[in-house]
């Protein structure tokens, strides 16, 4: 009898609480992401369960993340920000924060603690690279190669990109200096912890471009993440760099004769920001969603649909099997110890400073 009463009482309380919060929160939410498989994984892991808990909410996806910074700036200038939560890479989050376009986040009050009680700030750790950034996944830019075009000795070193004798044929690299210049210096004999010191000097930049000169006429430059998978699938290139999740889908879902070269993969982060200056009801909804969508279980769930590593330390042990293929996802994560033997960490501060300068030189070099 008392048990029923307690249950009834708690139910009533929950309803009341739910009702009270629902009144203050906007029921419309616009989420911004990258489209494609990545957005789908977010939809399945975060939004679907959230909407089941909150059937009154209607949510819309906008696949504009690749131009989120420019659009947010334009919206801000027009005084009409229509987005509620926006998925961006860490370097964009830093710029949005610098420009005052993203809201500062307090991880301990706005994000859920881990199930064992570890605070969110500690659980995310070093990955909180900006005051405005809520990390979701760790992804890496790495190299895939055609197993049938590389002969008996498949490449196992990042510098095999620059080895035209052992691996003749075209290779695809991203049409921007970030990652490309670092790899060039690494393969020109610069020690890993000195790469950014060297790249900060104009001699170092010349040196990286001179190294790239040796393969320039064999490179197809890509600008969209889907380019390299297509080029690999068509046999246009023997090897090429792209995001590890794209390669996963080429290898495991499309069963192409492609394998991954994890050496010197460059780690990067992707996560949410909340635009600055949202009205209170929409902000309340965005915060409520973020609190739910970045908890330990949700981040682990996303790895069921795409091979990116969850950004929380506490999520890693919960990563299970792929939802459709049924394969263990652990070994496909960029953070898996077997894959992460030699990794490279993107230096956000460096690129915030040198991006304009090096990009001008890189593009001038490309156009020649």
């Amino acid at each position: 009898m008392t048990l029923t009463k307690t249950i009834l009482a708690t139910t009533a309380l929950t309803f009341a609480a739910g009702f009270a919060t629902a009144q203050e929160m906007s029921n419309d939410m616009t989420l911004v992401s990258w489209g494609g498989a990545y957005q789908k994984s977010q939809d399945l892991a975060y939004l679907k369960p959230y909407l089941e808990m909150h059937p009154e909410v209607s949510a819309t996806w906008d696949s504009s993340s690749n131009e989120a910074v420019a659009k947010l700036r334009a919206m801000n200038e027009a005084g009409n920000v229509t987005w509620d939560v926006v998925d961006v890479v860490a370097s964009d989050a830093i710029r949005l924060c610098d420009e005052g376009l993203a809201m500062e986040i307090d991880p301990d009050t706005m994000l859920a603690a881990a199930p064992d009680g570890t605070s969110a700030a500690e659980d995310f750790g070093d990955l909180l690279v900006s005051d405005c950034f809520i990390p979701q996944i760790v992804y890496s830019t790495t190299v895939g190669y055609r197993t049938d075009l590389v002969g008996d000795t498949p490449p196992d070193d990042i510098c095999d990109i620059f080895d035209l004798e052992a691996y003749p044929g075209k290779r695809s690299l991203e049409k921007r200096p970030i990652n490309t210049m670092e790899w060039a210096l690494l393969c020109d004999g610069v020690a890993k912890d000195e790469v950014y010191d060297v790249l900060g000097t104009s001699e170092g930049q010349e040196r990286a471009l001179a190294k790239l000169d040796t393969i320039k006429d064999q490179v197809v430059w890509w600008s969209a993440g889907a380019d390299t998978p297509q080029l690999l699938a068509d046999g246009e290139v023997v090897m090429g760099s792209t995001y590890n999740g794209r390669l996963f889908s080429v290898i495991e879902e499309q069963k192409q004769p492609v394998a991954m070269l994890w050496d010197a993969q460059v780690f990067d982060l992707d996560g949410w920001i909340i635009p600055a200056g949202l009205p209170e009801d929409r902000l309340a909804r965005a915060l409520d969603f973020i609190m739910f969508a970045t908890d330990t279980q949700r981040l682990a769930d996303q790895a069921k649909y795409i091979s990116y590593g969850p950004a929380r330390a506490s999520s890693a042990p919960l990563v299970g099997k792929h939802a459709e293929l049924g394969i263990e996802m652990g070994p496909h994560m960029p953070t898996d110890p077997a894959n992460a033997k030699n990794t490279f960490l993107y230096n956000y501060e460096f690129w915030a400073d040198y991006r304009d300068d090096i990009d001008a030189k890189f593009q001038a070099w490309l156009a020649k």
Binding site: E67, D98, E349, Q363, A364
Partner: protein, 424 residues
Amino acid sequence: MSDQTTSGPVLAADGTPLKRSLARALRMQKLRALALIAPLLLFVLITFIAPIADMLFRSVENQIVQDTLPQTVEALADWDPSASEVPDEEVFRALAADLKVAVKAKTHTRLGTRLNYEMTGASSLFRKSGRRVKKMDPEGDASLKEAFIGIDKKWGEPEIWNTILTYSPKYTNGYFLNAVDMQKGPDGPEARPENQQIYMILFGRTLFMSLVITGSCILLGYPVAWILANLPTRTANLLMILVLLPFWTSLLVRTSAWKVMLQQQGVINDVLVWLGLVGDDARLVMINNQFGTIVAMTHILLPFMILPMYSVMQTIQPTYLRAAKSLGATNWTAFWRVYFPQSVPGIGAGSILVFILSIGYYITPEIVGGNTGTFISNRIAYHISSSLNWGLAAALGAILLAVVLLLYYAYDKIVGIDNVKLGG
């Protein structure tokens, strides 16, 4: 009585002079016409002209330095940049006071981004100083100069001060100089280092490739338009569908289709290898270069050339050709001396359309252009959406607009804009 009326002005029925009455009637008509087009005019002004003007204005606007660091800019006025010494304590005090205000409004990082376009490292310099400036006391006795140099030794070098001073006026020609591969130096504008020069190459390439694309559109489009204009209407309408069908297909689909056709493992190379014309190890490189861009854009823009040509050719009487031939002209002479001059207005209209469209083209060169086939518009897009250097993007856009207007003017002088017909 009759003498008086003949010497005075002609009067309308109501007694007012006819001239004035006519003018009034005309004015009424003009006002009515204006009222009719007023909604469109307002719409165009608000949604088209005003945003373009606003965007172009950004190419010279530079208020951020003065707005964020008002006291510093004022204190710096007495500093002599040629002495290559760091300013004195007074300037650092002004800087601390300005930064304190800026940190509260979170505008210091924005200024850092702006100055980083001119001086590498300004972005982190301002971010770092913003975090530490809160503890400083601009009224206190301690040396703020040392405190700032303690935060970052860049404050102790003249470069950052030069940059602030150079970009302190409210308006700057810095973006325009950058857009033509120059920069503001200590003694006025100077050329950028050679390894950073890119925009003049891109402007030249954009113009050159747009001309080539327009030329190939004329060569390919003229015979098609001629056949369409000279076939019976039924067949012509049927064939017209073939011209229009690609026109209605998504741009992205058509560009991607060219990728499939032209790539080294693509359809054309496969056929050539199969025919034995090309060795399997020597497949042709036809994409991710200028050639790929020209082919794909010619295909995409071809309808813009064919349609005006067709509508002009339709109006050319076939009897003229017959008359020429009956007077003894050969086929070639009849075409060249009689038919072709009458079809020139169609070529003119098509060329202007295709040329102006291709000069601002962005998607196709981005996808199939590789590194030698990209246009200036790709850099404009980069500065709008990635580097956020809208000032530079606006300057590049303004130059492009000026070039197009200049070419249009030249075209009007040489060919005459009256000679352009879209039909009829």
